[in-house]
């Protein structure tokens, strides 16, 4: 392999600051890193450069913003910044969030016409306090990555100046399928609402447009309101998180506006699965839910909610959890109340009646429903999320003589 090109690049870089490098030595180092230690060429070049920089006493090379404060050369559009960059940018503070640690003075989201990015102002930076809704010029901030999300860090070397700009900023919504970790805006419909699983959680569920769907979450915070299922919202500056290669939208600090009208949402996710119900799990049948606003957890037999303790004024609900098996794959099913009622023929009132008047109580509802459902062939339509199918409709399958004839021909055909 030829290292002269990389050496030439390094040489030119240091010539600018008046330093001459020993080409032979540099080439030898590159060769050793790449051939002996299997280091990627780009990484080797970087590593050798840094070592030389230290030798020559040059501060670490910063691709942008190094030309000093006040210069506009390093200014970038927010959409173009990358982790590792030193940047100067102008943007509007579109949201502020409570700092997560005493080391942080302020945090929030800053946006320009091209996009938006999260920012953090370190307490040590002694930066002036910034206001939501105002435009600022931020010079020599550094961009890093936290949980895969680019983050603009304001440190002691950064200068922040409020600028006289009042341009209204209207972010352009992205199709749901184009969202990437960071900050994003969408126009989407609330498709589903899930049980909240944490007492700090206000709401979670799924939003979607015609290109895709994404999980959303809103944490409890003053002034936050729940979204209505079936309504369309313009969601500006939501945080797009990535976990286990799945994206989700954190709407806690987003600006949300309800829209008139309706939009199409993707239906491709609504797959049909057929098979036999081979297991009904405990916790199926009639259950009691916590009545505390926004909680809705299933209570234990003693009416105990893991968060809100004893709740004598519980709310009854129906659900079935179980496994659907087609002989090749098993699917974990979750049937909601209306689906349970349609499939079992037992509605909530009847189930309540059984639970309150039968010696076995709620167990009797479980047993009766199991007798009606277990071992039956059904066709379910729903959405599969994290190995669980949230079933929207579930119907018993029926014998089709056409299928029978086809199979007779198939079996008899070759004999």
């Amino acid at each position: 392999m030829d290292y002269s090109e990389a050496t030439e690049r390094i040489s030119r870089k240091f010539k600018k600051s008046g330093n001459e490098i020993n080409r032979e030595k540099v080439e030898g180092k590159l060769r050793r890193l790449i051939e002996e230690f299997g280091v990627q060429p780009a990484e080797a070049e970087r590593s050798v450069s840094n070592e030389l920089a230290k030798e020559f006493n040059i501060p670490p090379a910063s691709p942008q913003g190094s030309s000093g404060t006040g210069s506009a050369t390093g200014q970038k559009a927010i959409a173009d910044v990358c982790p590792g960059d030193w940047v100067t940018l102008e943007g509007k503070v579109v949201s502020l969030a409570p700092p997560a640690s005493p080391a942080i003075a302020q945090s929030g989201i800053v946006a320009d016409e091209s996009g938006a990015i999260r920012f953090v102002v370190w307490a040590k930076s002694n930066a002036p306090k910034i206001k939501e809704g105002a435009w600022y010029r931020i010079e020599s901030a550094v961009v890093d990555e936290y949980k895969n999300i680019p983050n603009l860090k304001v440190h002691s070397g950064t200068t922040i100046k409020e600028i006289d700009k009042t341009d209204p900023l209207i972010p352009s919504p992205l199709p749901v399928k184009d969202l990437r970790p960071g900050i994003g805006s969408v126009r989407a419909k609330v498709i589903q609402e899930w049980d909240v699983t944490h007492d700090r959680m206000l709401q979670s569920g799924i939003v979607g447009d015609e290109t895709g769907t994404i999980k959303f979450i809103i944490w409890k915070e003053q002034g936050k309101e729940k979204l209505a299922v079936g309504s369309v919202y313009s969601i500006f500056y939501a945080q797009v998180d990535e976990f286990n290669e799945r994206l989700s939208l954190n709407l806690t600090s987003a600006t949300i506006m309800q829209e008139e009208g309706d939009i199409a949402t993707i239906t491709g996710g609504d797959a049909e699965i057929r098979g036999a119900i081979v297991h009904i799990a405990p916790g199926s049948g009639i259950i009691k839910r916590c009545p505390v606003e926004g909680c809705n957890r299933a209570l234990s037999r003693q009416n105990y909610c893991p968060i809100h303790e004893i709740q004598p004024n519980f709310v009854y609900d129906l659900r079935i959890k179980g496994w659907l098996d087609d002989g090749e794959r098993t699917h974990n099913l979750l049937l909601k109340r209306d689906v349970v009622e349609a499939l079992t023929g037992i509605n909530l009132d009847q189930a309540k009646e059984i639970a309150e008047n039968n010696p076995l109580g709620m167990d009797e509802v479980f047993l009766q429903m199991r007798e009606k459902v277990l071992g039956r062939y059904v066709a379910c339509k729903g959405r599969e999320i994290e190995n669980r199918v949230l079933v929207n409709s579930c119907e018993r399958m029926h014998f089709e003589s056409g299928e029978h004839t086809k199979l007779l021909n198939r079996a008899g055909g070759a004999s």
């Binding site: 081979v278 297991h279 098996d325 974990n332 277990l374 299928e403 199979l407």
Partner: protein
Amino acid sequence: MSAKDTEMGRRDGSFEREPARRVFASELRECRYQFRDGEDEKSPTFVLLPTGERSNRIFLVGTLTEKTRQGEQNIFYRGRVIDPTGTFFIMAGSYQPEAMQQMAKIETPAFVAVTGKPNLYQKPDGSYLVSVRVESITVVDKETRDLWLLDTATRTLDRIDALATSTTPDILKAKEQYPTLDLATHRRMVYDALAQIKI
């Protein structure tokens, strides 16, 4: 699903349930090879179906014609479930209390749907028996039985076709373990089973 997938599924904590295979009684009766997938004490055991698929669990629907309660201290139930091709031997013991209670309640004869784990035993006289340890059993209607016949016929024909065309490790193993397997006989069995549905 390959064995590797299953193992990986376990390692990262996301449990993957073994699917319940669809197999006629006369095929299950011919199983002679049982193996454990992995070294672990809790590794699942499989019987290898003659048509070349491993099975840790089966789902069957047929007529429960007989059930007997056995044992003094450790009570268990045995039963016979008939399909158009033969008999499944099922049992539920004190380790499956739910299944045992369900079985105790059922009056024979009845159409039943059974989910359970097949186990291969060699009797003292050297002959083999495949018995199904019941996980759940419920009384169902004739339509469910007919749907199962169609389902099992489809799956069995799929396996017969795959045996001729594909070479998964399980298929190769089956060819080694069941050298006398006659595909035409199995095809015939499927046809006869289907023919029992009266229209």
